[in-house]
């Protein structure tokens, strides 16, 4: 999923071009509905279509919405312990892996419970009759209107922010409205809680104020190996990225704009006073 670039920290726009850009942005804000400011509607953010093996099995692709799962589990749990890759097509999830108790099957095994109810099993053998309904819970053609309704029902009690109405996950966790689990029995390894509260100052190359990156906020859900070294392979002082690269999905853009707040919320990262 790609989002529009919201600017390029590596460029220094001239005063006339900046004024023109602001004028266009202002005109757009007046003329366009509020949602236009959020390039991807919240119900569609972090949507993943899994289709590597589905066509061979004559099944519709799996439509996975991150928001359905992230209120219940940390990013680390699925992307480290369960083994879901961060890059499309790399996980190679299949009916066989699910039936073996891996990938989706790590939780969707028909035995694990959520709020006292068994979590439906992923991928059975040639499901027939009422079992077919179970297949279509994941292998769906994708009804956009139904997804929007489901999302609105899901997010009804969660804090929202921005004109796009994105869920503020950080606030939701602070208020105890979501409690993402970080351990699945038989899958996760017992380990100490991560203590990483070192902030990293990233000097802006452009007209924006500097970024103050909080390890503490990110480590709470991600652990270390979600980001290092795959997403941030650089050593200290080398991790410079332009907003153009980020909006293309590199570095911060691996999550922000997809499953975390969008790149239009400049002030949430560019928090240091202007030099």
């Amino acid at each position: 999923m790609r989002r529009r670039s919201t600017g390029d920290a590596g460029l220094r726009p001239t005063a006339p071009s900046l004024a023109a850009a602001l004028a266009v942005a202002f005109a757009g804000a007046v003329a366009a509905p509020a949602r236009a400011w959020s390039p991807v509607p919240p119900a569609d953010q972090g949507r993943v279509v899994l289709e590597t093996f589905t066509s061979k099995a004559r099944m519709p692709p799996v439509q996975f919405d991150h928001w359905r799962h992230r209120a219940r589990h940390t990013c680390r749990l699925c992307h480290v312990d369960v083994g879901f890759a961060m890059t499309a097509g790399e996980t190679r999830v299949s009916a066989a892996t699910n039936q073996g108790g891996f990938h989706c099957g790590a939780c969707h095994d028909g035995k694990a419970t959520w709020r006292g109810k068994p979590i439906f099993a992923a991928c059975g053998d040639r499901a027939k009759g009422e079992e077919e309904g179970r297949c279509t819970r994941c292998h769906a053609r994708g009804d956009a209107e139904q997804r929007r309704k489901d999302f609105e029902a899901f997010a009804a009690d969660l804090p929202r922010r921005g004109v796009g109405g994105d869920v503020d996950w950080e606030e939701a966790e602070l208020k105890g409205l979501v409690r993402p689990a970080d351990f699945v029995e038989g899958v996760s390894i017992a380990r100490k809680a991560l203590r990483m509260d070192k902030d990293v100052a990233i000097r802006s190359q452009g007209w924006m104020s500097d970024v103050l990156f909080s390890h503490k906020k990110h480590a709470a859900w991600n652990g270390c190996e979600v980001c290092h070294p795959d997403i941030f392979p650089n050593q200290k002082g080398e991790a410079r990225r332009t907003m153009l690269q980020i909006s293309s999905g590199e570095a911060c853009g691996a999550c922000h704009g997809k499953v975390a707040f969008g790149l239009g919320e400049c002030q949430r990262c560019h928090v240091k006073p202007v030099r």
């Binding site: 480290v80 892996t97 390894i189 270390c224």
Partner: protein, 110 residues
């Protein structure tokens, strides 16, 4: 049902049970307990330290990277589903330790 019928049914039941093999619980489960699989115990020991990677000394990090490399062939020999998951997980742990080690050495070189 007479005695003969009962005997036939019992024999059929025993035969069916024999042909079906051991009960599901007795078959090797997809996620066997760590004690039964040496590789898994080693994997869990290796990957249990990722949260502490920054606090480990360089020698320990080197040892962990080396142990991950030694474990890789055992993971590569697993059945496909298990291999897909554990190869990725092991690589994640190994690469993190190597990253922290390189980061530290690069910092010392500055």
């Amino acid at each position: 049902m007479g005695r003969l019928g009962f005997a036939v049914l019992a024999a059929a039941g025993v035969t069916a049970a024999f042909l079906a093999g051991p009960p599901a619980a007795a078959q090797a489960p997809a996620r066997a307990p760590a004690a039964r699989d040496g590789w898994k115990q080693e994997f869990e020991e290796l990957c249990a330290k990722t949260q502490d990677a920054m606090a480990l000394d360089s020698e320990e990090l080197r040892s962990l990277v080396s142990r991950c490399d030694k474990l890789k062939p055992a993971i590569d020999g697993l059945a496909e589903s298990e291999r897909k998951v554990y190869a990725k997980r092991l690589a994640g742990c190994r690469n993190l330790y190597a990253y922290v080690l390189e980061s530290r050495e690069a910092g010392q070189g500055r």
